[in-house]
């Protein structure tokens, strides 16, 4: 990992929102380095701040939100210092692009597909209209649109859901961005289409060399696409590590809970595992560990003092007092020990998935 260059460096970021006279802290001190050509998955429940976090460096934070501290370094520039919309437009779309969840809402329904791709190219690259059309067509072919010339003048409603998402990806990649943010791009799609879109994003990464920040709540998708995973809870990264470390050697009780709720690990006719309680309110100040009230392994100190980030390996970090040398030894729950063997057992005979001709 050391030989790779850091492309985006977020340090101790705080994001707050003003909501009807009250203050909500959505991001509570996130630090994360994004390397070149890697893909980082961000997982967490809804409301954990996954989307807000990526919006801060895509320049798409809502009006009532503001950065309350920290820095975001990108190409020698601190993005938190940007005040004017014009400066953002040089970065957003051309250097940092986003693919959203619902392809129908991110495309303009009354413009043709071709127009929507060329307008982005014309805006960010100095070229003629004819040149933009050629580039747009090349992009459409790259993302796997059959008969691109014939479909160039079609409207979004004439495309299927998977094709629309391919177009959104084509638009996002048309300016060769350095970072591609994928905000649950496959949640609205069928599993068969999802598999194709994930493959497309990975294949194009080899060609374009962008870094991926992938927001999802599906751990299967994480296993498919990510090199590293950041687990978010109540606006903080509670665990960060390579995908293997996170699945095979998780350290934070919240990660344990997420893995335990995988349906693939469930026993037939037994209760499915569910995490008790609800995430904390972000309106009030959180003392101690935010996950403590829902954590069956909580220690007394969890309610008093916020745990620091403990380092386990050069790439693996977790924010839990259980890693403190003074803490009692706690093993991860039985259900997720030897997760790889359990998955093999649960799936070994499932013909389509593992056993192949």
């Amino acid at each position: 990992m050391e030989d790779r260059n850091v492309i985006l460096s977020v340090k101790d970021l705080y994001v707050k929102f003003r909501v009807r006279g009250r203050e909500l802290t959505a991001i509570r001190g996130i630090s994360l380095d994004l390397y070149e050509h890697e893909s980082v998955a961000i997982v967490g429940e809804s409301g954990s701040g996954k989307s807000v976090f990526t919006k801060t460096f895509a320049g798409m934070l809502e009006r009532n939100g503001y950065l309350a501290g920290g820095s975001i370094e990108f190409e020698g520039k601190d993005l938190t210092k940007i005040r004017r919309a014009k400066e953002w437009s040089q970065i957003r779309g051309s250097k940092i692009a986003t693919v959203f969840q619902d392809p129908m809402t991110s495309l303009n329904p009354i413009l043709t597909i071709g127009k929507q791709i060329t307008s982005v190219i014309l805006r960010h690259q100095n070229c003629s209209e004819g040149e933009a059309r050629v580039r747009a067509l090349a992009m459409m072919k790259k993302v796997g649109i059959p008969h691109a010339e014939a479909r160039f003048d079609d409207y979004p409603f004439q495309y299927s859901g998977g094709m629309r998402q391919r177009i959104v990806i084509a638009i996002a990649l048309s300016c060769q961005p350095k970072i591609l943010i994928c905000d649950e791009p496959t949640t609205a799609l069928d599993v068969t289409i999802q598999a194709q879109i994930l493959k497309l994003i990975k294949d194009l990464q080899k060609e374009f060399g962008y870094s991926i920040v992938f927001i999802t709540h599906d751990l299967g998708v994480v296993a498919n696409i990510a090199d590293r995973v950041a687990v978010l809870y109540a606006g903080q990264i509670v665990e960060l590590g390579t995908t293997e470390e996170l699945f095979y050697d998780p350290r934070h009780p919240y990660t344990w809970a997420l893995l335990s709720s995988l349906p693939q690990l469930a026993q037939r006719n037994a209760k499915l595992y569910s995490i008790a309680g609800t995430p904390p309110s972000l309106y009030s100040e959180i003392t101690g560990d935010a996950f403590a009230p829902r954590n069956p392994y909580a220690l007394k100190i969890d309610t008093l003092k916020e745990p620091p980030m403990f380092q386990i390996t050069p790439t693996h970090f977790a924010r839990t007092w259980l890693l403190d040398p003074r803490a009692p030894r706690v093993e991860k729950p039985e259900g997720i020990q030897n997760i790889h063997e359990k998955m093999m057992n649960s799936l070994h005979v499932s013909g389509g998935q593992v056993r192949e001709n």
Binding site: S46, S160, D190, H217, G220, A223, L262, P263, N357
Partner: protein, 390 residues
């Protein structure tokens, strides 16, 4: 008079099959068409299956495959264009008398995908839950109704004080609990759950599924579970039916379906589910189904039992192959037509129709403009004439 009444009321029990299982619901060669004449589309084609009492039967397929349409046909929202649906051996599709229809409505309840769209946002939870009780007078007096509603709302894990609130005051998971309470208060025998957890957060899904399981164990409910996500379906269903473009391509018990998926579409669907294990997911082979591998020109395909209640859709030759392979405990060789993965997605039809329509629009616009100019000319002429006369 008396005989008519007898046919209108549902029997206590449905017919029993050769294995002694009670068939609660039976679809027999059901076709469903949308639209009329040449522009009609057959979205459900010759679908037949049985649901036994007390089981969870899941219908899995991608969007547009017709799974929701089947669910809606059972509760008589979509009419069948051919075939019939039987509930406890009594036909409930097509024209039926009012008494029977009321019984069907009471006995078959539905839970919807989007809990915020399926609850009346201007009604209190109390009204939403007791609306069915009102319609069927299922309570003795007001006190009895309140008791019933409070009981069910506690059963789904909410509190009686929530009854005076409105749906928007609840989270997604709580709303789905209200949807469940609304169905359960009618004491149904069959519940059709149309993607009840797809709109929910991962951590909430397990809670709602556990709740559904609890109701099934306590009341012996039967579920028809409609879903597109195979990973959860596997652990909650007794039997699974896979549907592709209006055809049921495979029906089997859950474990059997995952152990011996025979139809290529089922296998592609299973292979598409991402495995939450980085090593397994990396080594996984993604199978892409191409309907062109079947040659159904001479020999029409049908859904047939290949042994042990495992039904597969295929023609004579394919079915014979599936049977021998299943007996040996093997899987068929994967057949794939050479094609890029993207090419499999449908290319919308009627590309030829569009320029014509655009031509029409332009013609109409031109005509309108012409009419406008003509109108102005006539007007000016009249004014001129008037002035001349004066």
């Amino acid at each position: 008079m008396k005989t008519e009444k007898k046919t209108s009321v549902l029997p206590e029990r449905g017919p029993v099959d050769e294995k002694g299982r009670e068939i609660l619901l039976s679809l027999k060669n059901v076709d469903i068409r949308f639209g009329k004449g040449n522009s009609s589309a057959k979205v459900v084609k010759n679908v037949s299956f049985d649901i036994y009492r007390g089981e969870t039967f899941s219908l899995v397929g991608e969007s547009g495959s017709g799974k929701t349409t089947i669910g809606r046909a059972i509760i008589r929202v979509n009419p069948c264009s051919a075939g019939e649906i039987q509930y406890k051996g009594v036909r409930i599709s097509g024209k039926i008398n009012q008494a029977l229809e009321r019984q069907v409505i009471r006995n078959i309840q539905m839970v919807f995908q989007d809990p915020s769209a399926s609850l009346n946002e201007r009604a209190t939870v109390d009204y939403i839950v007791s609306e069915g009780l009102h319609n069927f007078h299922l309570y003795k007096d007001e006190a009895d109704r309140v008791r019933k509603v409070e009981h069910i709302i506690e059963e789904v894990g909410l509190l009686p004080e929530h009854l005076t609130r409105y749906p928007h005051e609840f989270s997604g998971g709580q709303r789905q609990r209200i949807g469940l309470a609304r169905a359960m208060v009618m004491e149904p025998e069959l519940v059709i759950a149309d993607e009840p957890i797809s709109a929910l957060d991962v951590s909430i899904r397990a809670q709602v599924l556990n709740l559904m399981k609890k109701f099934q164990q306590e009341r012996g409910l039967t579920y028809l579970f409609i879903a597109h996500d195979l990973s959860i379906v596997r652990f909650i269903s007794d039997r699974i039916g896979v549907i592709y473009k209006g055809n049921i391509v495979e029906i089997a018990e859950a474990e059997e379906l995952f152990d011996f998926p025979m139809h290529p579409y089922t296998r592609s669907l299973i292979s598409a589910v991402p495995i939450p294990d980085p090593v397994l997911e990396r080594d996984k082979v993604l199978l892409t189904y191409d309907p062109a591998i079947h040659d159904y020109t001479a020999d029409q395909p049908r859904l047939e039992d290949i042994g042990g209640g495992h039904f597969v859709f295929g023609n004579e030759q394919e079915l014979a192959q599936y049977r021998t392979l299943r007996a040996k405990g093997e899987l068929p060789q994967w057949r794939s037509a050479e094609s890029a993965d993207a090419e499999n997605e449908e290319i919308p039809a009627k590309r030829t129709g569009r320029p014509g329509r655009r031509g029409w629009r332009m013609l109409r616009r031109a005509l309108l403009a012409l009419a406008g100019i003509l109108g102005v000319c006539v007007g000016l002429f009249l004014i001129f004439l008037l002035l001349a006369v004066i």
